[in-house]
Protein backbone atom coordinates (compact mmCIF):
# COMPACT_ATOMS: atom_id res chain seq x y z
CA UNK A 1 0.00 0.00 0.00
CA UNK A 2 1.40 3.36 -1.04
CA UNK A 3 0.95 6.41 1.14
CA UNK A 4 0.05 9.47 -0.93
CA UNK A 5 -0.34 13.04 0.23
CA UNK A 6 -4.00 12.59 1.08
CA UNK A 7 -3.15 10.14 3.91
CA UNK A 8 -1.39 13.01 5.68
CA UNK A 9 -3.67 15.86 4.66
CA UNK A 10 -6.85 14.35 6.08
CA UNK A 11 -5.41 13.92 9.62
CA UNK A 12 -4.02 17.47 9.40
CA UNK A 13 -7.46 18.76 8.46
CA UNK A 14 -9.05 16.80 11.31
CA UNK A 15 -6.46 18.27 13.68
CA UNK A 16 -7.23 21.78 12.47
CA UNK A 17 -10.99 21.33 12.87
CA UNK A 18 -10.52 19.75 16.30
CA UNK A 19 -8.43 22.78 17.26
CA UNK A 20 -11.13 25.21 16.11
CA UNK A 21 -13.80 23.18 17.93
CA UNK A 22 -11.72 23.04 21.10
CA UNK A 23 -10.93 26.75 21.00
CA UNK A 24 -14.61 27.60 20.78
CA UNK A 25 -15.97 25.13 23.35
CA UNK A 26 -13.29 24.97 26.06
CA UNK A 27 -13.62 27.20 29.11
CA UNK A 28 -10.14 26.68 30.54
CA UNK A 29 -7.56 29.04 29.04
CA UNK A 30 -4.80 26.40 29.08
CA UNK A 31 -7.07 24.01 27.15
CA UNK A 32 -7.78 26.81 24.66
CA UNK A 33 -4.05 27.28 24.24
CA UNK A 34 -3.62 23.55 23.58
CA UNK A 35 -6.32 23.77 20.91
CA UNK A 36 -4.44 26.65 19.30
CA UNK A 37 -1.29 24.51 19.26
CA UNK A 38 -3.25 21.79 17.45
CA UNK A 39 -4.25 24.29 14.77
CA UNK A 40 -0.69 25.58 14.34
CA UNK A 41 0.69 22.03 14.12
CA UNK A 42 -1.90 21.11 11.49
CA UNK A 43 -0.57 24.01 9.42
CA UNK A 44 2.98 22.70 9.83
CA UNK A 45 1.96 19.22 8.65
CA UNK A 46 0.23 20.74 5.63
CA UNK A 47 3.33 22.64 4.60
CA UNK A 48 5.65 19.67 5.01
CA UNK A 49 3.35 17.34 3.09
CA UNK A 50 2.84 19.77 0.21
CA UNK A 51 6.58 20.26 0.00
CA UNK A 52 7.44 16.56 0.18
CA UNK A 53 4.82 15.24 -2.24
CA UNK A 54 4.04 18.09 -4.64
CA UNK A 55 7.10 20.35 -4.86
CA UNK A 56 10.13 18.30 -3.72
CA UNK A 57 12.57 20.33 -5.84
CA UNK A 58 12.66 23.29 -3.41
CA UNK A 59 12.63 23.38 0.39
CA UNK A 60 10.34 26.39 0.85
CA UNK A 61 7.64 24.56 2.78
CA UNK A 62 10.12 22.94 5.17
CA UNK A 63 11.69 26.28 5.99
CA UNK A 64 8.31 27.87 6.51
CA UNK A 65 7.52 25.06 8.96
CA UNK A 66 10.72 25.68 10.91
CA UNK A 67 9.88 29.35 11.30
CA UNK A 68 6.24 28.57 12.07
CA UNK A 69 7.33 26.27 14.92
CA UNK A 70 9.52 29.02 16.36
CA UNK A 71 6.69 31.54 16.09
CA UNK A 72 4.26 29.10 17.74
CA UNK A 73 6.70 28.61 20.61
CA UNK A 74 6.96 32.37 21.12
CA UNK A 75 3.19 32.70 21.05
CA UNK A 76 2.75 29.95 23.64
CA UNK A 77 5.37 31.44 25.96
CA UNK A 78 3.71 34.84 25.85
CA UNK A 79 0.23 33.40 26.27
CA UNK A 80 1.33 31.34 29.28
CA UNK A 81 2.89 34.44 30.87
CA UNK A 82 -0.34 36.37 30.41
CA UNK A 83 -2.44 33.46 31.72
CA UNK A 84 -0.26 33.30 34.85
CA UNK A 85 -0.88 37.03 35.32
CA UNK A 86 -4.60 36.46 34.99
CA UNK A 87 -4.42 33.58 37.48
CA UNK A 88 -2.67 35.81 40.01
CA UNK A 89 -5.34 38.47 39.87
CA UNK A 90 -8.35 36.16 39.37
CA UNK A 91 -7.37 32.95 41.18
CA UNK A 92 -8.79 31.11 38.17
CA UNK A 93 -7.97 30.43 34.51
CA UNK A 94 -11.61 30.09 33.51
CA UNK A 95 -12.45 32.37 30.60
CA UNK A 96 -15.88 33.02 32.11
CA UNK A 97 -14.18 35.08 34.80
CA UNK A 98 -12.90 37.49 32.14
CA UNK A 99 -16.23 39.30 31.97
CA UNK A 100 -15.46 42.71 33.39
CA UNK A 101 -15.61 44.37 29.98
CA UNK A 102 -18.27 43.43 27.48
CA UNK A 103 -20.44 44.78 24.67
Amino acid sequence: MEFTAIYYLIPALIMFCAGVYGFITRKNMIAMLISLELMLNAVDINFVVFNRFLFPEAMEGMFFTLFAIAIAAAETALAIAIIINIYRSNKSVDVRTLNEMKF
Binding site: L40, V43, E60, F63, F64, F67, I71, E75, I82
Partner: protein
Amino acid sequence: MDYSQFLTMKQELGLLVVFLLVFLYDTFMPGRTQKALPAVTTVLMLLLTVAGFCPCVLGTCGETVAFSGMYETSPVICAIKNILNIGVVIVLLQSIQWANSDGMRMRRGEFYELLLVTLFGMYLMISSRHFLMFIIGLESASLPLAAMTALNKDSHESHEAAGKYILTAVFSSAIFMMGLSFVYGLCGSLYFSNIYVSVASEMNLMLVCAVAFVIAGIGFKLSLVPFHLWTADVYQGAPTSVTSYLSVISKGATAFAFMAVLAQVFGTVYSQIWEWMLYALIILTITVGNLFAIRQRNMKRFLAFSSVSQAGYIMLGIIAYNAMGVAAMMYYILVYIFSNLAAFGVIGAIENATGRVSMDDYRGLHKTNPRLSFAMMLAMFSLAGIPPFAGFFSKFFIFTGALNQGSIAIYVLVLIALINTIISLYYYLLVVKAMYISDEDCVIPTFRSACSERLGLWITVGGIIFLGLVSCIYSGLLNMMADSALSIFFI
Protein backbone atom coordinates in the same frame (compact mmCIF):
# COMPACT_ATOMS: atom_id res chain seq x y z
CA MET B 1 25.98 35.46 0.05
CA ASP B 2 26.27 39.14 -0.69
CA TYR B 3 26.00 40.96 2.64
CA SER B 4 25.87 44.38 1.03
CA GLN B 5 22.21 43.80 0.19
CA PHE B 6 21.38 44.47 3.84
CA LEU B 7 22.06 48.10 2.95
CA THR B 8 18.84 48.08 0.93
CA MET B 9 16.94 47.92 4.21
CA LYS B 10 18.04 51.42 5.21
CA GLN B 11 14.95 52.35 7.19
CA GLU B 12 14.92 49.04 9.06
CA LEU B 13 18.59 49.48 9.92
CA GLY B 14 17.91 53.01 11.14
CA LEU B 15 15.12 51.75 13.36
CA LEU B 16 17.36 48.97 14.64
CA VAL B 17 19.99 51.55 15.63
CA VAL B 18 17.33 53.54 17.49
CA PHE B 19 16.19 50.37 19.25
CA LEU B 20 19.74 49.42 20.27
CA LEU B 21 20.47 52.90 21.60
CA VAL B 22 17.27 52.89 23.66
CA PHE B 23 18.04 49.38 24.91
CA LEU B 24 21.61 50.29 25.92
CA TYR B 25 20.41 53.50 27.58
CA ASP B 26 17.79 51.56 29.54
CA THR B 27 20.26 48.86 30.60
CA PHE B 28 23.44 50.73 31.42
CA MET B 29 22.59 54.30 32.36
CA PRO B 30 22.36 55.00 36.12
CA GLY B 31 18.99 55.24 37.83
CA ARG B 32 18.82 59.01 38.15
CA THR B 33 19.08 59.51 34.37
CA GLN B 34 16.32 57.01 33.64
CA LYS B 35 13.63 59.69 33.75
CA ALA B 36 15.08 61.06 30.52
CA LEU B 37 14.52 57.79 28.65
CA PRO B 38 11.12 58.76 27.14
CA ALA B 39 12.49 62.08 25.91
CA VAL B 40 15.60 60.40 24.48
CA THR B 41 13.47 57.87 22.61
CA THR B 42 11.25 60.62 21.22
CA VAL B 43 14.23 62.63 19.99
CA LEU B 44 15.84 59.55 18.38
CA MET B 45 12.58 58.69 16.66
CA LEU B 46 12.25 62.29 15.46
CA LEU B 47 15.75 62.07 13.96
CA LEU B 48 14.79 58.83 12.21
CA THR B 49 11.67 60.48 10.80
CA VAL B 50 13.63 63.45 9.47
CA ALA B 51 16.27 61.13 8.00
CA GLY B 52 13.53 59.16 6.28
CA PHE B 53 12.51 62.22 4.30
CA CYS B 54 16.03 62.77 2.92
CA PRO B 55 16.41 60.51 -0.12
CA CYS B 56 20.16 60.07 0.29
CA VAL B 57 20.11 59.19 4.00
CA LEU B 58 17.35 56.67 4.56
CA GLY B 59 15.16 57.15 1.50
CA THR B 60 15.22 55.12 -1.70
CA CYS B 61 18.21 55.37 -3.92
CA GLY B 62 20.21 52.55 -5.42
CA GLU B 63 18.99 49.00 -5.01
CA THR B 64 15.29 48.45 -4.31
CA VAL B 65 15.16 44.65 -4.13
CA ALA B 66 17.09 42.40 -1.75
CA PHE B 67 17.33 38.72 -0.79
CA SER B 68 16.33 37.49 -4.25
CA GLY B 69 13.05 39.37 -4.17
CA MET B 70 11.97 38.68 -0.60
CA TYR B 71 12.35 42.30 0.37
CA GLU B 72 11.39 45.31 -1.68
CA THR B 73 11.43 49.03 -1.17
CA SER B 74 10.13 51.86 -3.32
CA PRO B 75 9.18 55.54 -2.93
CA VAL B 76 5.62 54.50 -2.04
CA ILE B 77 6.80 52.08 0.64
CA CYS B 78 9.18 54.72 2.01
CA ALA B 79 6.32 57.21 2.12
CA ILE B 80 4.07 54.92 4.16
CA LYS B 81 6.96 54.21 6.56
CA ASN B 82 7.50 57.95 6.96
CA ILE B 83 3.80 58.43 7.67
CA LEU B 84 4.03 55.73 10.37
CA ASN B 85 7.15 57.41 11.79
CA ILE B 86 5.31 60.71 12.16
CA GLY B 87 2.53 58.93 14.03
CA VAL B 88 5.00 57.14 16.30
CA VAL B 89 6.72 60.42 17.20
CA ILE B 90 3.37 61.89 18.28
CA VAL B 91 2.47 58.75 20.25
CA LEU B 92 5.85 58.85 22.02
CA LEU B 93 5.43 62.54 22.77
CA GLN B 94 2.03 61.93 24.33
CA SER B 95 3.27 58.94 26.35
CA ILE B 96 6.09 60.80 28.16
CA GLN B 97 3.89 61.95 31.02
CA TRP B 98 2.41 58.48 31.55
CA ALA B 99 5.77 56.69 31.24
CA ASN B 100 7.26 58.93 33.94
CA SER B 101 4.48 58.25 36.42
CA ASP B 102 5.36 56.27 39.55
CA GLY B 103 3.61 53.04 38.55
CA MET B 104 5.66 52.80 35.36
CA ARG B 105 9.07 53.30 37.00
CA MET B 106 10.16 49.68 36.59
CA ARG B 107 8.59 49.12 33.17
CA ARG B 108 9.43 52.36 31.40
CA GLY B 109 12.12 50.84 29.21
CA GLU B 110 10.03 47.83 28.27
CA PHE B 111 7.28 49.98 26.83
CA TYR B 112 9.66 51.79 24.48
CA GLU B 113 11.61 48.69 23.47
CA LEU B 114 8.48 46.67 22.71
CA LEU B 115 7.03 49.60 20.79
CA LEU B 116 10.12 49.89 18.58
CA VAL B 117 10.17 46.13 17.97
CA THR B 118 6.54 46.16 16.81
CA LEU B 119 7.33 49.07 14.52
CA PHE B 120 10.17 47.02 13.06
CA GLY B 121 7.74 44.18 12.44
CA MET B 122 5.38 46.54 10.65
CA TYR B 123 8.21 47.78 8.43
CA LEU B 124 9.02 44.17 7.48
CA MET B 125 5.37 43.42 6.84
CA ILE B 126 5.03 46.40 4.48
CA SER B 127 8.25 45.65 2.58
CA SER B 128 8.07 41.88 2.34
CA ARG B 129 7.43 40.18 -0.97
CA HIS B 130 7.55 36.64 0.37
CA PHE B 131 5.08 35.08 2.78
CA LEU B 132 7.72 33.78 5.19
CA MET B 133 9.02 37.32 5.67
CA PHE B 134 5.45 38.57 5.86
CA ILE B 135 4.45 36.19 8.64
CA ILE B 136 7.57 37.05 10.67
CA GLY B 137 6.73 40.74 10.31
CA LEU B 138 3.09 40.15 11.17
CA GLU B 139 3.90 38.16 14.29
CA SER B 140 6.59 40.51 15.56
CA ALA B 141 4.12 43.34 15.02
CA SER B 142 1.32 41.67 16.95
CA LEU B 143 2.86 39.55 19.74
CA PRO B 144 4.72 42.34 21.60
CA LEU B 145 1.50 44.33 21.47
CA ALA B 146 -0.07 41.71 23.76
CA ALA B 147 2.75 42.28 26.23
CA MET B 148 2.27 46.04 25.93
CA THR B 149 -1.45 45.63 26.60
CA ALA B 150 -0.64 43.78 29.82
CA LEU B 151 1.84 46.46 30.89
CA ASN B 152 -0.38 47.89 33.62
CA LYS B 153 0.17 45.11 36.15
CA ASP B 154 -2.04 46.56 38.87
CA SER B 155 -5.13 46.71 36.75
CA HIS B 156 -7.37 43.70 36.31
CA GLU B 157 -8.75 45.12 33.06
CA SER B 158 -5.27 45.23 31.57
CA HIS B 159 -4.78 41.49 32.17
CA GLU B 160 -8.20 40.68 30.83
CA ALA B 161 -7.53 42.69 27.67
CA ALA B 162 -4.15 41.01 27.14
CA GLY B 163 -5.67 37.55 27.59
CA LYS B 164 -8.39 38.24 25.06
CA TYR B 165 -5.90 39.79 22.66
CA ILE B 166 -3.30 37.01 22.71
CA LEU B 167 -5.84 34.17 22.32
CA THR B 168 -7.62 35.80 19.39
CA ALA B 169 -4.31 36.88 17.84
CA VAL B 170 -2.94 33.35 17.83
CA PHE B 171 -6.25 31.98 16.57
CA SER B 172 -6.28 34.40 13.66
CA SER B 173 -2.65 33.81 12.76
CA ALA B 174 -3.31 30.03 12.75
CA ILE B 175 -6.17 30.60 10.30
CA PHE B 176 -3.97 32.89 8.22
CA MET B 177 -1.20 30.30 8.04
CA MET B 178 -3.72 27.60 7.07
CA GLY B 179 -4.71 29.82 4.14
CA LEU B 180 -1.03 30.20 3.24
CA SER B 181 -0.55 26.43 3.25
CA PHE B 182 -3.44 26.12 0.78
CA VAL B 183 -1.87 28.77 -1.43
CA TYR B 184 1.46 26.95 -1.24
CA GLY B 185 -0.20 23.65 -2.13
CA LEU B 186 -1.79 25.24 -5.19
CA CYS B 187 1.05 27.36 -6.49
CA GLY B 188 4.21 25.72 -5.15
CA SER B 189 5.84 28.94 -4.07
CA LEU B 190 5.54 31.60 -1.41
CA TYR B 191 6.98 34.48 -3.45
CA PHE B 192 4.30 37.08 -4.16
CA SER B 193 5.34 37.36 -7.80
CA ASN B 194 5.29 33.59 -8.44
CA ILE B 195 1.87 33.18 -6.86
CA TYR B 196 0.57 36.15 -8.84
CA VAL B 197 1.52 34.45 -12.09
CA SER B 198 0.10 31.02 -11.35
CA VAL B 199 -2.93 31.82 -9.19
CA ALA B 200 -5.36 32.58 -12.03
CA SER B 201 -5.03 29.11 -13.51
CA GLU B 202 -5.90 27.50 -10.17
CA MET B 203 -9.46 28.77 -9.85
CA ASN B 204 -11.18 26.27 -7.57
CA LEU B 205 -12.84 25.99 -4.20
CA MET B 206 -9.52 25.54 -2.41
CA LEU B 207 -8.30 28.90 -3.69
CA VAL B 208 -11.52 30.57 -2.52
CA CYS B 209 -10.94 29.01 0.92
CA ALA B 210 -7.32 30.16 0.91
CA VAL B 211 -8.22 33.76 0.03
CA ALA B 212 -11.00 33.78 2.64
CA PHE B 213 -8.57 32.52 5.31
CA VAL B 214 -5.93 35.10 4.38
CA ILE B 215 -8.50 37.92 4.45
CA ALA B 216 -9.80 36.67 7.81
CA GLY B 217 -6.30 36.52 9.28
CA ILE B 218 -5.36 40.05 8.28
CA GLY B 219 -8.91 41.29 8.87
CA PHE B 220 -8.44 40.42 12.52
CA LYS B 221 -5.47 42.79 12.79
CA LEU B 222 -7.45 45.50 11.03
CA SER B 223 -10.52 44.70 13.19
CA LEU B 224 -12.91 44.31 10.27
CA VAL B 225 -16.33 43.36 11.45
CA PRO B 226 -16.82 39.66 11.87
CA PHE B 227 -13.32 39.63 13.41
CA HIS B 228 -13.57 42.80 15.51
CA LEU B 229 -14.76 41.40 18.81
CA TRP B 230 -11.42 41.84 20.58
CA THR B 231 -11.11 45.51 19.63
CA ALA B 232 -13.28 47.27 22.17
CA ASP B 233 -12.09 45.20 25.15
CA VAL B 234 -8.41 45.58 24.30
CA TYR B 235 -8.72 49.31 23.65
CA GLN B 236 -10.48 49.81 26.96
CA GLY B 237 -8.18 47.63 29.04
CA ALA B 238 -4.83 48.70 27.62
CA PRO B 239 -3.00 51.80 28.90
CA THR B 240 -4.06 54.85 26.86
CA SER B 241 -0.70 55.26 25.13
CA VAL B 242 -0.77 51.65 24.00
CA THR B 243 -4.34 52.07 22.80
CA SER B 244 -3.45 55.07 20.68
CA TYR B 245 -0.49 53.19 19.20
CA LEU B 246 -2.69 50.16 18.50
CA SER B 247 -5.45 52.16 16.89
CA VAL B 248 -3.43 54.30 14.48
CA ILE B 249 0.02 52.89 13.77
CA SER B 250 -0.84 49.19 13.87
CA LYS B 251 -3.98 49.77 11.83
CA GLY B 252 -2.28 51.97 9.23
CA ALA B 253 0.59 49.54 8.67
CA THR B 254 -1.73 46.55 8.42
CA ALA B 255 -4.03 48.31 5.97
CA PHE B 256 -1.13 49.00 3.65
CA ALA B 257 0.22 45.45 3.97
CA PHE B 258 -3.28 44.12 3.28
CA MET B 259 -3.40 46.17 0.11
CA ALA B 260 -0.01 44.82 -0.94
CA VAL B 261 -1.07 41.21 -0.35
CA LEU B 262 -4.38 41.52 -2.17
CA ALA B 263 -2.97 43.44 -5.13
CA GLN B 264 0.35 41.65 -5.56
CA VAL B 265 -0.66 38.09 -4.71
CA PHE B 266 -4.33 37.74 -5.60
CA GLY B 267 -4.48 40.59 -8.10
CA THR B 268 -5.47 38.37 -11.02
CA VAL B 269 -8.52 36.98 -9.24
CA TYR B 270 -9.79 40.39 -8.12
CA SER B 271 -13.24 40.24 -9.70
CA GLN B 272 -13.69 36.47 -9.35
CA ILE B 273 -12.96 36.07 -5.66
CA TRP B 274 -12.13 38.85 -3.27
CA GLU B 275 -14.01 41.84 -4.65
CA TRP B 276 -17.30 40.45 -3.34
CA MET B 277 -15.80 39.39 -0.03
CA LEU B 278 -14.57 42.92 0.50
CA TYR B 279 -17.95 44.45 -0.39
CA ALA B 280 -19.57 42.41 2.36
CA LEU B 281 -16.77 43.14 4.84
CA ILE B 282 -16.80 46.89 4.20
CA ILE B 283 -20.56 47.26 4.51
CA LEU B 284 -20.59 45.21 7.73
CA THR B 285 -17.55 46.99 9.17
CA ILE B 286 -18.80 50.52 8.63
CA THR B 287 -22.38 49.82 9.72
CA VAL B 288 -21.77 47.64 12.78
CA GLY B 289 -18.89 49.86 13.96
CA ASN B 290 -21.15 52.90 13.79
CA LEU B 291 -24.14 51.29 15.46
CA PHE B 292 -22.11 49.97 18.37
CA ALA B 293 -20.28 53.26 18.83
CA ILE B 294 -23.58 55.03 19.54
CA ARG B 295 -24.21 53.18 22.80
CA GLN B 296 -20.71 53.49 24.34
CA ARG B 297 -20.12 55.70 27.38
CA ASN B 298 -16.44 54.91 28.00
CA MET B 299 -14.35 57.17 25.75
CA LYS B 300 -11.74 54.54 24.88
CA ARG B 301 -14.43 52.00 23.99
CA PHE B 302 -16.20 54.65 21.98
CA LEU B 303 -13.05 55.39 19.98
CA ALA B 304 -12.53 51.64 19.52
CA PHE B 305 -15.82 51.28 17.65
CA SER B 306 -15.17 54.53 15.82
CA SER B 307 -11.84 53.08 14.67
CA VAL B 308 -13.62 49.90 13.54
CA SER B 309 -15.79 51.95 11.22
CA GLN B 310 -12.82 54.06 10.10
CA ALA B 311 -11.08 50.81 9.07
CA GLY B 312 -14.03 50.22 6.75
CA TYR B 313 -13.43 53.57 5.07
CA ILE B 314 -9.72 52.75 4.71
CA MET B 315 -10.72 49.51 2.96
CA LEU B 316 -12.53 51.56 0.30
CA GLY B 317 -9.08 52.55 -0.95
CA ILE B 318 -8.16 48.86 -1.34
CA ILE B 319 -11.32 47.86 -3.17
CA ALA B 320 -10.87 50.77 -5.59
CA TYR B 321 -7.88 48.84 -6.95
CA ASN B 322 -6.32 51.77 -8.80
CA ALA B 323 -3.52 54.26 -8.20
CA MET B 324 -5.89 56.95 -6.99
CA GLY B 325 -7.40 54.58 -4.44
CA VAL B 326 -3.99 53.78 -2.97
CA ALA B 327 -3.00 57.46 -2.82
CA ALA B 328 -6.32 58.24 -1.13
CA MET B 329 -5.79 55.40 1.32
CA MET B 330 -2.34 56.68 2.32
CA TYR B 331 -3.72 60.19 2.70
CA TYR B 332 -6.60 58.81 4.76
CA ILE B 333 -4.16 56.99 7.06
CA LEU B 334 -2.13 60.18 7.51
CA VAL B 335 -5.20 62.24 8.40
CA TYR B 336 -6.57 59.46 10.60
CA ILE B 337 -3.29 59.40 12.53
CA PHE B 338 -3.58 63.11 13.30
CA SER B 339 -7.29 63.16 14.17
CA ASN B 340 -7.30 60.00 16.27
CA LEU B 341 -4.12 60.96 18.11
CA ALA B 342 -5.65 64.34 18.94
CA ALA B 343 -8.62 62.56 20.52
CA PHE B 344 -6.38 60.11 22.39
CA GLY B 345 -4.11 62.98 23.47
CA VAL B 346 -7.04 64.71 25.17
CA ILE B 347 -8.24 61.45 26.73
CA GLY B 348 -4.73 60.65 27.97
CA ALA B 349 -4.23 64.13 29.42
CA ILE B 350 -7.53 63.98 31.31
CA GLU B 351 -6.86 60.42 32.47
CA ASN B 352 -3.38 61.30 33.73
CA ALA B 353 -4.69 64.31 35.63
CA THR B 354 -7.96 62.96 37.04
CA GLY B 355 -8.22 59.25 36.15
CA ARG B 356 -11.63 59.65 34.48
CA VAL B 357 -12.48 58.22 31.05
CA SER B 358 -16.27 58.26 30.86
CA MET B 359 -18.13 60.50 28.43
CA ASP B 360 -20.34 61.69 31.29
CA ASP B 361 -17.27 63.08 33.05
CA TYR B 362 -16.65 65.34 30.07
CA ARG B 363 -19.83 67.36 30.66
CA GLY B 364 -19.20 71.06 30.87
CA LEU B 365 -15.50 70.59 30.15
CA HIS B 366 -15.30 73.77 28.09
CA LYS B 367 -15.82 75.92 31.18
CA THR B 368 -12.82 74.54 33.02
CA ASN B 369 -10.50 73.34 30.25
CA PRO B 370 -11.40 75.30 27.11
CA ARG B 371 -8.28 74.37 25.13
CA LEU B 372 -8.58 70.63 25.72
CA SER B 373 -12.24 70.65 24.75
CA PHE B 374 -11.43 72.70 21.64
CA ALA B 375 -8.81 70.12 20.56
CA MET B 376 -11.29 67.31 21.22
CA MET B 377 -13.94 69.12 19.19
CA LEU B 378 -11.59 69.51 16.21
CA ALA B 379 -10.66 65.82 16.44
CA MET B 380 -14.32 64.80 16.45
CA PHE B 381 -15.13 67.11 13.52
CA SER B 382 -12.21 65.70 11.58
CA LEU B 383 -13.16 62.08 12.31
CA ALA B 384 -16.75 62.79 11.31
CA GLY B 385 -15.62 64.52 8.11
CA ILE B 386 -16.88 68.09 8.51
CA PRO B 387 -15.25 70.61 6.15
CA PRO B 388 -12.83 72.42 6.23
CA PHE B 389 -10.95 69.97 8.47
CA ALA B 390 -8.65 67.30 7.08
CA GLY B 391 -11.12 64.46 7.69
CA PHE B 392 -13.50 65.86 5.10
CA PHE B 393 -10.87 65.85 2.39
CA SER B 394 -9.60 62.37 3.20
CA LYS B 395 -13.16 60.99 3.00
CA PHE B 396 -13.77 62.95 -0.20
CA PHE B 397 -10.64 61.58 -1.88
CA ILE B 398 -11.24 58.00 -0.80
CA PHE B 399 -14.82 58.09 -2.11
CA THR B 400 -13.60 59.57 -5.40
CA GLY B 401 -10.89 56.94 -5.67
CA ALA B 402 -13.43 54.17 -5.08
CA LEU B 403 -15.87 55.61 -7.62
CA ASN B 404 -13.11 55.61 -10.25
CA GLN B 405 -13.34 51.83 -10.24
CA GLY B 406 -16.58 52.35 -12.14
CA SER B 407 -18.89 49.39 -11.50
CA ILE B 408 -22.52 49.78 -10.35
CA ALA B 409 -21.81 47.88 -7.13
CA ILE B 410 -19.19 50.38 -6.05
CA TYR B 411 -21.70 53.22 -6.39
CA VAL B 412 -24.04 51.37 -4.04
CA LEU B 413 -21.15 50.75 -1.66
CA VAL B 414 -20.13 54.41 -1.61
CA LEU B 415 -23.77 55.39 -1.06
CA ILE B 416 -23.92 53.10 2.00
CA ALA B 417 -20.64 54.58 3.24
CA LEU B 418 -22.06 58.09 2.80
CA ILE B 419 -25.20 57.25 4.78
CA ASN B 420 -22.96 55.84 7.49
CA THR B 421 -20.95 59.06 7.56
CA ILE B 422 -24.16 60.83 8.52
CA ILE B 423 -24.88 58.26 11.25
CA SER B 424 -21.34 58.70 12.57
CA LEU B 425 -21.91 62.46 12.78
CA TYR B 426 -24.49 61.78 15.50
CA TYR B 427 -22.20 59.99 17.90
CA TYR B 428 -19.15 62.15 17.26
CA LEU B 429 -21.28 65.18 18.07
CA LEU B 430 -22.48 63.49 21.27
CA VAL B 431 -19.01 64.12 22.67
CA VAL B 432 -19.06 67.74 21.55
CA LYS B 433 -22.52 68.12 23.06
CA ALA B 434 -21.32 66.68 26.35
CA MET B 435 -18.42 69.12 26.47
CA TYR B 436 -20.15 72.30 25.30
CA ILE B 437 -23.90 72.05 25.90
CA SER B 438 -24.63 69.67 28.77
CA ASP B 439 -24.52 71.14 32.25
CA GLU B 440 -23.00 69.34 35.18
CA ASP B 441 -22.36 70.26 38.76
CA CYS B 442 -19.19 68.25 39.34
CA VAL B 443 -17.11 69.27 36.33
CA ILE B 444 -13.53 68.09 35.96
CA PRO B 445 -11.55 70.85 37.69
CA THR B 446 -9.19 73.09 35.75
CA PHE B 447 -5.75 71.55 35.38
CA ARG B 448 -2.65 72.26 33.38
CA SER B 449 -1.51 69.28 31.30
CA ALA B 450 2.17 68.45 30.97
CA CYS B 451 4.37 70.28 28.49
CA SER B 452 4.87 67.21 26.28
CA GLU B 453 1.15 66.52 26.11
CA ARG B 454 0.43 70.09 25.09
CA LEU B 455 3.11 69.92 22.38
CA GLY B 456 1.61 66.69 21.05
CA LEU B 457 -1.85 68.25 20.98
CA TRP B 458 -0.60 71.38 19.18
CA ILE B 459 1.00 69.21 16.49
CA THR B 460 -2.11 67.10 15.97
CA VAL B 461 -4.45 70.11 15.94
CA GLY B 462 -2.14 71.82 13.45
CA GLY B 463 -2.27 68.67 11.33
CA ILE B 464 -6.06 68.53 11.44
CA ILE B 465 -6.39 72.15 10.31
CA PHE B 466 -3.62 72.33 7.73
CA LEU B 467 -3.46 68.85 6.16
CA GLY B 468 -6.75 69.48 4.41
CA LEU B 469 -5.80 72.94 3.17
CA VAL B 470 -2.27 72.19 1.97
CA SER B 471 -3.27 70.47 -1.23
CA CYS B 472 0.26 69.60 -2.34
CA ILE B 473 0.36 66.62 0.06
CA TYR B 474 -2.37 64.72 -1.67
CA SER B 475 -1.27 65.65 -5.19
CA GLY B 476 2.30 64.69 -4.25
CA LEU B 477 1.12 61.28 -3.09
CA LEU B 478 -0.95 60.88 -6.26
CA ASN B 479 1.96 61.79 -8.53
CA MET B 480 4.22 59.36 -6.72
CA MET B 481 1.55 56.68 -7.07
CA ALA B 482 1.11 57.34 -10.79
CA ASP B 483 4.85 56.85 -11.26
CA SER B 484 4.95 53.57 -9.40
CA ALA B 485 1.46 52.18 -10.02
CA LEU B 486 3.18 49.63 -12.20
CA SER B 487 5.13 48.18 -9.30
CA ILE B 488 2.07 47.99 -7.03
CA PHE B 489 -0.41 46.38 -9.34
CA PHE B 490 1.91 44.59 -11.82
CA ILE B 491 -0.36 45.93 -14.57
